[in-house]
């Protein structure tokens, strides 16, 4: 396909997406469910791509996502909760005086400066996580495969324990969590409405990660994934590049955490338990380990499936007056797990494998479909099903 055609198609898709987002913005009241699901998907897409950067592209099996997200979420929340609400939220133990003073100073800035604060808060969350990752990376990244997974999981739980500990009460409000986190900020004086912000940030983050993956450093990451010994023999400094991948991944994971706090409007340490890491891992595995577009696609499919399409199974179903069995709260998760097993069994490499989205791929799809499903019917039977 010609380069120009591809460019035109790309522009069309982006334009359509933008039009769609502004349409959503105009119809927020009617499309509340859709908005919520798409926003959550976009946030999880950042987390999934950054997990993929580590697991899929650098071959480092890390399970610290929830921990880094909590760093992002807490730092961002502490910096964006309106200063006047602070005393109300920390009613149990009172706010740390230094924090309160800092927030007062922030509140006294001119309004145009204040409009940048939410973004700076998200950035600060990312940087805090990156710093933490750089520190724990030095010992942890020397570990191999399973041990690395266990160590990162451990650190993730430690972070959670620290955030909810009584000693941190005056900063993180311990086990009570933080409330009144404002919604996503708008950009460019309302030109980009609050609703669109998470999508824009997700797009920027994912673009940055793709740029990193496609750079010479990204090639070095992949060489580590393929064969550490050979990579080292080719002059790739293992620790330096692992540290780089780990820090970058943690930064973007924390950005996702900051956005998640704004999405949920209140956070508590429980939100960032291992279950969150598994949710993200699930998205990565379903999308294909080593495929950015797979992770994005799967973030939307999994979130929509879990929160929306399968809701149907949770409500009692009546056919006439007969109530179908099984249809009750929780059944949706059973169906979801079954679907998951099907994917893992039949698409072992995920929806996309290690391939990326491409227009050629889309164009080839009808051909592929015909080959896979239609031809088989016409083919002469070859005794036995195991061909």
């Amino acid at each position: 396909m010609k380069k120009q055609t591809k460019r035109i198609l790309n522009i069309c898709i982006i334009a359509l997406a933008i039009v769609f987002l502004y349409w959503l913005n105009a119809n927020t009241s009617k499309q509340g469910m859709l908005v919520a699901i798409l926003q959550k998907s976009a946030i999880l897409a950042i987390a999934a791509v950054s997990m993929n950067l580590l697991n899929g592209f650098t071959g480092l099996f890390s399970l610290g996502q929830a921990g880094f997200m909590s760093i992002g979420a807490y730092v961002t929340s502490i910096l964006v909760i309106p200063a006047e609400n602070l005393n109300g939220i920390y009613y149990m133990t009172g706010v740390n005086q230094g924090l309160l003073n800092f927030r007062m100073a922030m509140a006294n800035c001119p309004p145009w400066v204040q409009s940048f604060f939410p973004f700076l808060a998200i950035l600060a969350g990312g940087l805090a996580a990156a710093l933490f990752a750089a520190l724990i990376g030095m010992p942890v990244l020397r570990l191999k495969s399973d041990y690395l997974a266990i160590a990162t999981l451990g650190f993730s739980e430690i972070i959670r324990a620290v955030f909810s500990s009584p000693q941190m009460d005056s900063i993180t409000n311990g086990s009570y969590g933080l409330k009144s986190v404002p919604n996503f900020p708008e950009m460019a004086g309302g030109l980009i409405p609050s609703l669109v912000t998470p999508f824009l940030i997700a797009a920027i983050c994912i673009l940055l990660m793709v740029l990193l993956i496609n750079s010479s450093y990204g090639r070095a990451f992949k060489s580590i994934r393929e064969d550490e010994i050979a990579a080292e023999a080719m002059g790739v400094n293992l620790l330096k590049h692992k540290e780089l991948a780990f820090t970058a991944s943690s930064f973007f994971t924390a950005v996702a955490g900051g956005l998640l706090a704004m999405y949920m409007r209140s956070i508590e340490a429980k939100t960032f338990s291992i279950a969150l890491t598994y949710d993200i891992l699930l998205i990565v595995v379903i999308g294909g380990i080593g495929s950015v577009s797979g992770s994005i696609l799967s973030a939307f499919l999994v979130t929509a499936g879990k929160e929306w399409w399968l809701r149907f199974f949770d409500t009692p179903l009546y056919i006439g007056t007969w109530q179908a069995p099984l249809f009750r709260t929780g059944f949706r998760m059973v169906i979801f797990s079954i679907l998951l097993m099907v994917v893992v069994l039949f698409y072992r490499r995920g929806l996309m494998g290690t391939n990326e989205f491409s227009w050629q791929g889309i164009m080839r799809f009808p051909q592929w479909f015909r080959r896979k499903f239609l031809k088989r019917k016409g083919a002469p039977p070859k005794g036995g099903d195991d061909t």
Binding site: L212, S216, K222, M234
Partner: protein, 279 residues
């Protein structure tokens, strides 16, 4: 006499009770092709791994251009188990990570080919070019190093065309036939701009004609890139034809050395190889 590039002094590598390399001393001079031969399990690959710092030797020293790059003496639990000699000769401990050794311009290939199998042929070579990158992460991300990147591509392609793999540059490395994979490994090693090239059984799995071509090829790159070549090889025709000197080891110990003619007629060598049916 020309200058010595690589020198091994009393290298002993002991894995628990197994002495894989036993008090090995040798030298490789500039521009030479030197072969290291010996029966299976003689400790040849282990010697290479010590030179490239994949693991520290139990005792001994490796010099590159007269400068120690590896040096160790028995310590820890090896203090008791050490079965070699000269345990006090190397008081200094010198270790680098393998990538540092590569940066000192020592490149290698592997006996059991270790390509980046799921990456393209071109990418395999480009990775070896990464170590000299001047651009930082951010400038590389935003392609501010366009010139550098295109230089990297250009020299990678030049190397591929030398090994005859340019037409396959976009293929997946793991899909190449065996012989071509060996050449790709050499191209990748050359991309690190070595002064010393270590080849671990480059002709393994090749037929006599391919082996002949490989011999010619090794000589050609030695001259073109002004290399010093140190290789392990089992194909005796190849070894006898292209080596300037040969070291023979058995059970980790050096049993003979000299020109191909000298080694071929050495009774110790014949005895060591007698039990071997494949030679």
């Amino acid at each position: 006499m020309s200058k010595t590039i690589l020198e091994l002094n009393n290298i002993t590598m002991q894995f628990g009770g197994v002495v894989a390399v036993d008090n090995l001393s040798l030298h490789v001079d500039e521009g030479e092709i030197v072969a290291l031969i010996g029966p299976n399990g003689a400790g040849k690959t282990t010697a290479f791994n010590v030179v490239t710092s994949m693991y520290p030797p139990t005792n001994g020293q490796v010099l590159l251009n007269g400068k120690p790059i590896v040096s160790n003496h028995p310590h820890g639990k090896m203090k008791k188990m050490y079965a070699g000699c000269d345990r006090t000769a190397y008081p200094d401990v010198v270790t680098y990570t393998p990538d540092k050794i590569t940066k000192m311009r020592v490149a290698r290939t592997f006996q059991n080919i270790r390509l980046f199998k799921d990456m393209s042929v071109l990418d395999n070579v480009l990775i070896a070019k990464h170590m000299n990158i001047r651009a930082g992460v951010f400038s590389a991300m935003f392609r501010l190093n366009k010139k550098e990147e295109s230089d990297m591509h250009e020299s990678a392609r030049a190397l591929l065309s030398i090994v005859g793999l340019l037409p396959f540059q976009n293929e997946i490395a793991g899909s190449l036939p065996y012989g071509k994979q060996r050449y790709l490994e050499i191209a990748r090693a050359l991309a690190t701009e070595p002064q010393l090239l270590l080849l671990d059984e480059p002709a393994a799995g090749m037929n006599p004609q391919e082996t002949d071509e490989l011999g010619e090829f090794i000589r050609r790159i030695r001259d073109a890139f002004r290399l010093t070549v140190f290789m392990i090889e089992h194909h005796m025709d190849l070894v006898m034809k292209i080596s300037d000197r040969i070291y023979v080891i058995d059970f980790g110990k050096q049993i003979s050395k000299g020109s191909p003619a000298q080694v071929q007629s050495d009774p110790a060598v014949i005895a060591a190889y007698l039990g071997e049916d494949e030679e």
